[in-house]
Homo-oligomer: 222 residues x 2
């Protein structure tokens, strides 16, 4: 499905749904991260996590502004995703500062991979916007460095964080599958290949593999 | 004490202490507000409070950057104020969304009045920076409108919020006095008049009166 279909209602619905889930995801990540920042061991670290939270908020504003441009109410578009995103956060409450860092890193990277895959089949404007909402190379690098530093300081953290990383990616992939299925977010991907089960399976495996490589990069057994 | 004294060590200490307490106050307000935002009745309101929190973070960054320019470590400068600011927040935990709004509004306005009074006796550069850190006309207006709207929707809120406002201003003034005394923040004000007790008393009365006028503006009995 290319730009030629950009006019049709089903396609517009797909785009607004995608922006809606991204907007709510960012707004909710902002709230979680800025709360978690309070548990930072130093004010310097608290400020680093605060800055990442602020970037999430700005990305929420980008998505939200585009929704308004498209003539839809941002709140209405986010609401259908609120329950499952909140549920995900309830199930993955970090126990301390290090688990907060790991959660931010895993969610940030896995959701970027996911939204990027979905947006590959969308029109250029939407794809470019999704890219801008996702681009957080700076945030990802800061989180990675904080994790690397923490692991170097206390090698005993490794097994706990490896376990936590597996738990997080499991919940994130389940969440991504459920949201995609309920809201037909994978529509373009599915219609381009035909077999829904196979496509979803392949995407999930791909996301898991990229996550695994990042965990190995941190010296953790994914 | 004017710009002529800007070179002396005691004066520099006063400036860094003032920026230190402001920086920590903003960082801490950011964390509290963005957490409180989760209890907003609508996603629209959550985003409004989130935006105010983001502005607090940007003000923290302004103060922090100036401290670094002055060659002092921002974290070191903030630390001496952490305990009393945190203690203040512990003593004034909002019970719900409306109490959060009121707290943000009261702290925002009373602390602006306080820092502005202190900075009147400082050099023009510092005064201008303090003004930029404080300027949040937009935030104050948004909070006032949210409160006015809530009070119009549910007039029973008035007595509870009036009581809460009195509690907040009492704690805020006690806090301002303690911090000023412990860190000699009122140095310039005191040395310009001579009588410490009288000056602090007058400043406190002045802050209380301005707060009272704002409460009356909301239709509350301050």
């Amino acid at each position: 499905m290319g730009t030629s279909s950009a006019g049709n209602a089903q396609y517009q619905r797909l785009v607004t749904d995608l922006l809606g889930v991204m907007a709510y995801g960012e707004l909710s990540a902002f709230g979680r991260l800025s709360s978690d920042a309070r548990y930072a061991p130093t004010l310097h670290d608290r400020a680093l996590l605060g800055r990442i939270a602020v970037i999430e908020f700005q990305h929420f504003e980008l998505a939200s502004a585009r929704l308004e441009e498209l003539g839809v109410d941002a709140e209405e578009t986010m609401l259908p995703f609120q329950r499952s995103v909140d549920h995900f956060h309830e199930r993955t409450k970090p126990g301390d500062w290090y688990e907060s860092l790991m959660k931010a890193y895993v969610i940030d990277t896995v959701s970027s991979d996911f939204y990027r895959s979905v947006s590959e089949f969308l029109d250029a404007d939407t794809r470019e916007l999704v890219e801008r909402i996702l681009v957080s190379e700076e945030s990802t690098a800061v989180l990675r460095e904080l994790l690397q530093h923490a692991l170097a300081e206390d090698p005993r953290l490794a097994s706990r964080l490896a376990l936590w990383g597996r738990r997080l990616v499991g919940e994130a992939l389940t969440q991504a599958q459920r949201v995609s299925m309920e809201h037909a977010l994978l529509g373009p991907l599915l219609s381009s290949t035909g077999d829904a089960r196979e496509t979803v399976g392949k995407l999930t495996a791909d996301l898991a593999e990229r996550h695994s490589r990042r965990m190995t990069g941190l010296g953790l057994t994914a």
